[in-house]
Symmetry: C2
Subunit: 213 residues, 2 copies
Amino acid sequence: MMSDDHVIFIVDDDERIREALSDLLDSHGMRAVSFASAGEYVSADKPDLPACLILDVELPDINGLDLQRQIADGDHPPIVFITGHGDIPSSVRAIKHGAVDFLTKPFSDADLMAAIGAAIAEDRDKRAERAELSVLGQRYRELTPREREVLPLVVSGLLNKQAAAELGISEVTLQIHRRNVMHKMAAASLADLVRIAERLEIPITHSRRVGGN
Amino acid sequence: MMSDDHVIFIVDDDERIREALSDLLDSHGMRAVSFASAGEYVSADKPDLPACLILDVELPDINGLDLQRQIADGDHPPIVFITGHGDIPSSVRAIKHGAVDFLTKPFSDADLMAAIGAAIAEDRDKRAERAELSVLGQRYRELTPREREVLPLVVSGLLNKQAAAELGISEVTLQIHRRNVMHKMAAASLADLVRIAERLEIPITHSRRVGGN
DNA sequence: CCGCAATTCATGGAAATCCATGCATTGCGC
DNA sequence: GCGCAATGCATGGATTTCCATGAATTGCGG
């Protein structure tokens, strides 16, 4: 019974290791996809599912730790490193850069399965977070340039007349932009909009000034 | 010229190590305080400064990794582990639990100083964050029980009449509580209050409903 | 030229928030 | 009993936000 809600990528140049890991994962009803090199893995079409990347440190084309840094900016899954010749500085570096675990061969099936489970759970959380941020980011990008200027002023807490003064426009125009921002960002209240702005890390550049409760 | 804006704690049962580290730090104008055991360190009065804890893994009274877990809930400084007999699982565990580095003897002065620098910088950031949260937390604790009920409703974005209905009181009374909350939390605007509530991780339990813009 | 989006401004008016002030009740500590 | 804090409610009124509707200008693409 092969589960369809996740996938585990195995990148190791040693075919016996790949086979052994595939069999182990298969026996747990987990889907595995194997690659003999980092280049293969990077180039491959991958299913859009919560995942885990089991990565050998000594690869023929690149050091596993260097691949970790290389793919860090993309939405690659959490890494579980495996290695036959690891050293402590490598393990420290791997973990500090976000790897879930660093296992030296021979490692127990239990340790590997635990690490994989943690990696998939972490990827699920991260993917949900990214999906939500992507929606918010898309909405933000649909704002007009002016609306994008109004947003930080509004979520800073300025009165409409104060925000209007900042931009050198009438309060009435500011209100129009404000309403459009609320609508486009799907915010039911100012409180909603403030939280959305926080999620998008929009900087707060002002504070409501005295005389404006 | 001994600097007064930080301190480095050294916990190692080997007196020669303590001396060597103290001398090294001294030569960099950094203040060091040494302890021969974990118990001594934990019991000692410590200056309230940004700090770094250089911690030996093999201590006479407790394993350094266990001490890390033990002090995790208090405001202890970031840890740089040093060890003569480290293994990879220990280093993984140390870093995953927040240690800045895990250095095996013999380690270079440069590596140690770099780790110490990073630890102190991290402690500075964390201490600033904790200080701010402490102020906000204190303000929150000074709210009356009723005001503490009103706060999450207000920052959820409910209209005053909606929040009042939630508590079964008049809108006028809700407004009084609202104003008191704003004042006690030192919020100049609703936007401020929403951000404060986020910092305090006050859960959002409601959303403004249709019919209430 | 036309249509559209972006930006600007306005009016009239309703709803909501905010403020100052006043009053009342209850429970607690001195 | 008194004073205080917590909680509740009210009035009158000012300010702010929100809404619907209307109009104008500019720049761009078809």
